[in-house]
């Protein structure tokens, strides 16, 4: 059985102007659909990657998975428990202990006034657990020194801070870790160190990762399965081998072509057309049709549903 089961998940944000402005300008309320009708299943001990550009809703999905945001519709079940619906506090606490998160900005995700020891042990201390020696043990597990426990976050580099974040995420012995752009703020050589650490920990501790990233090379290296998001919807889901060898959705194809390549010396390809549309007013039909070279009349009126296509899932009328 899948560890994480997400069904028809959606999230709408009210991004209206303040009440007084609305009355004076006679403008209606505006809503932003950040995530719409996303269904995914994530197997235990696998890495599921969510990729997309800004406004794709990948971070919003991540925050709903850990319970930081409540879904507007649909459900998130972690091992059969829906955090948003479950009334039994003990079950909620038990599931919470099994989920953790690593954030993008290693400078904002550690409280600058706390010592590293207190930061790392908080998930356990908050439950009244025993924390003696825990921080030291975890620090060594993530490749730092036990004596770093008494320091403050500002004494560390970005890569070291991200290791501290990983140590904190491991404190409550979780099974599922949501990694929201864990290396986008890091330099390439530091990124390699952190990604290797994540791989090692996954093997050693049997972790399940949800990796949220905009960097296709990172995703290709880490993921067992990749979901591509565009304007809040899942447009394609496949294994890395399938996705990178034969992308089926025109958006995925565009994304792969646009990514700068290390061996693309003097490459002169026509850059992609257009920009990401305004998410408060998405195009009708397939959201990608204004930028799609293959779009037909049907793409402009009917929204394509996600179809199974030989192990992959694709939301495109033309894919086969």
């Amino acid at each position: 059985m899948a560890l994480v089961r997400v069904e028809t998940l959606s999230r709408v944000f009210d991004v209206s102007k303040p009440w007084l402005n609305r009355v004076l300008e006679r403008s209606p309320k505006t809503y932003l659909t950040a995530v719409s009708d996303v269904s995914i299943e994530i197997e235990a001990r696998s890495t599921y990657a969510l990729v997309g550009e800004s406004g794709s809703g990948k971070s919003t999905i991540g925050r709903m998975l850990v319970g930081l945001l409540a879904p507007s519709g649909g459900t998130v079940e972690i091992d059969g428990v829906d955090l948003a619906q479950e009334r039994d506090a003990a079950r909620v606490a038990a599931v919470r202990d099994r989920i953790q998160m690593i954030f993008q900005d290693p400078f904002a995700s550690l409280n600058p006034r706390w010592k590293v020891r207190d930061i790392i042990t908080e998930p356990v201390a908050a439950r009244g657990g025993d924390t003696s020696g825990l921080a030291e043990e975890l620090l060594e597990q993530v490749g730092l020194s036990a004596r770093d426990a008494g320091k403050f976050p500002h004494e560390f580099s970005g890569g070291q801070r991200q290791r501290i974040c990983i140590a904190r995420a491991l404190a409550s012995k979780p099974e599922l870790i949501i990694c929201d752009e864990p290396t986008s703020a890091l330099d390439v050589s530091v990124q390699a160190q952190v990604l290797n650490l994540m791989s090692d920990l996954k093997d050693d501790l049997g972790l399940t990762y949800v990796l949220i990233s905009h960097d296709l090379t990172v995703v290709q290296h880490m993921a067992d399965r990749i979901g591509v998001l565009y304007l809040g919807r899942l447009v394609e889901e496949a294994t890395p081998d399938d996705l990178f060898a034969s992308p089926r959705h025109p958006y995925t194809q565009m994304l792969l072509a646009a990514a700068p390549r290390m061996d693309g010396f003097g490459r002169d390809i026509p850059p992609p057309e257009g920009e990401i549309p305004d998410p408060t007013n998405p195009p009708k039909g397939c959201a990608f049709h204004p930028r799609c070279a293959l779009a037909t009349a049907r793409c402009r009126s009917d929204r394509p549903v996600l179809r199974d296509l030989g192990g992959s899932r694709v939301a495109c009328h033309l894919a086969e």
């Binding site: 580099s157 050589s189 990604l195 990172v218 994304l255 390549r261």
Partner: protein, 324 residues
């Protein structure tokens, strides 16, 4: 070959602090020829932006140029006063920064910003400047340029704003453009558009470009030559294909190998141990020696190796190996 547009020789930038003097840029030399794109890469803190800021005279005190010289079209510019530098910045050097909003005045219509810049630096009439402003916006791919000329910067999306900044940087026909992480804040698809635009315009006009970025992929696709920086020093300088596929410096090699692309199909990524030294703790000799797999006794002692065009700052450069 004609004289280079920009020539930097032994440039050193120092910051005096209570813990001693820091050298974020330490004896760096490179040239950029007309119509050439020089990529400057390095990790954060390597001094790549600081070198660019030194060229345009935008170092934040107490940082200052402590040695070496900078020549633009043969004329020394590191000794110029603030007034002359300000003239230089609009006229001879165009600038594109990571955040387009730092280059645009939020309270002035973009058309006025373009015409004002041209009127200050070019000997043309207001009418002609206005016509040229529309042409410039059209050229950078802003749809309906004649209409959008009266818009304010906040009315554009991030990618469109960066296009406006490029139009602004190029409108006074500078001989050099310094682009500091111009696409880092943008999405992949928009990044490809901006890079293609910058490349095309500078090729057409023969503008020299200093492209500062941390993204090796962008460098590979855009630059003609590349300068790799490490701890404020130049590690390697040469044609982009040579440096990226046959890196001579162990740092460049490690950097290339640690990208996920280079390790394709392997469970683990190649990893350079340790981290770049902080500026207050740069080791003696070659700054990379504590992390270098090939370090020998000579690497730990002064004098350190200094890079030249085509020759890495390494006593024992890698010659034959190629990165897969």
């Amino acid at each position: 070959m004609a004289d280079p547009v920009l020539s930097i020789r032994d440039l050193t930038v120092e910051i005096p602090t209570r813990h001693g003097i820091l050298r974020p840029v330490d004896r760096v030399s490179y040239d950029i020829a007309q119509g050439e794109i020089l990529g400057v890469v390095g990790e954060s803190g390597a001094g790549k932006s600081m070198a660019g800021n030194a060229v345009i005279g935008l170092l934040t005190p107490p940082a200052h140029i402590a040695g070496g010289e900078i020549r633009l079209n043969g004329q020394r510019i590191d000794t110029l006063g603030p007034r002359a530098l300000r003239r230089l910045r609009g006229k001879d050097i165009g600038m594109v920064f990571q955040d387009p909003l730092t280059s645009l005045n939020p309270l002035i219509r973009i058309g006025d910003q373009l015409t004002e810049t041209m009127l200050t630096h070019l000997d043309i009439s207001r009418k002609e400047a206005e016509a040229r402003a529309i042409a410039a916006l059209d050229e950078v791919g802003i749809p309906g340029a004649a209409r959008r000329i009266d818009s304010y910067p906040h009315e554009f999306s991030g990618g469109m704003r960066q296009r406006v900044v490029i139009a602004l940087a190029l409108c006074a026909e500078p001989s050099l453009v310094i682009a500091d992480e111009p696409t880092t804040a943008l999405d992949v698809s928009v990044q490809a558009q901006i890079i293609a635009l910058l490349k095309r315009l500078c090729r057409e006009r023969g503008t020299a470009v200093m492209l500062i970025t941390h993204d090796m992929g962008v460098i590979a696709e855009t630059a003609d030559r590349v300068a790799v920086m490490y701890a404020g020093r130049l590690a390697e300088l040469g044609p982009v294909r040579d440096v990226l596929t046959k890196p001579q410096h162990p740092y460049t090699h490690g950097l290339m190998a640690s990208t996920p692309l280079a390790s394709r199909g392997q469970a683990r990524l190649h990893q350079i141990p340790g981290a770049m030294p902080r500026l207050d703790a740069v080791p003696d000799g070659c700054a990379f020696h504590p992390r270098c797999p090939a370090a020998q006794a000579r690497c730990t002692a002064s004098p350190r190796p200094v890079a030249q065009d085509g020759a890495a700052a390494c006593w024992f450069p890698r010659i034959k190996q190629e990165v897969s």
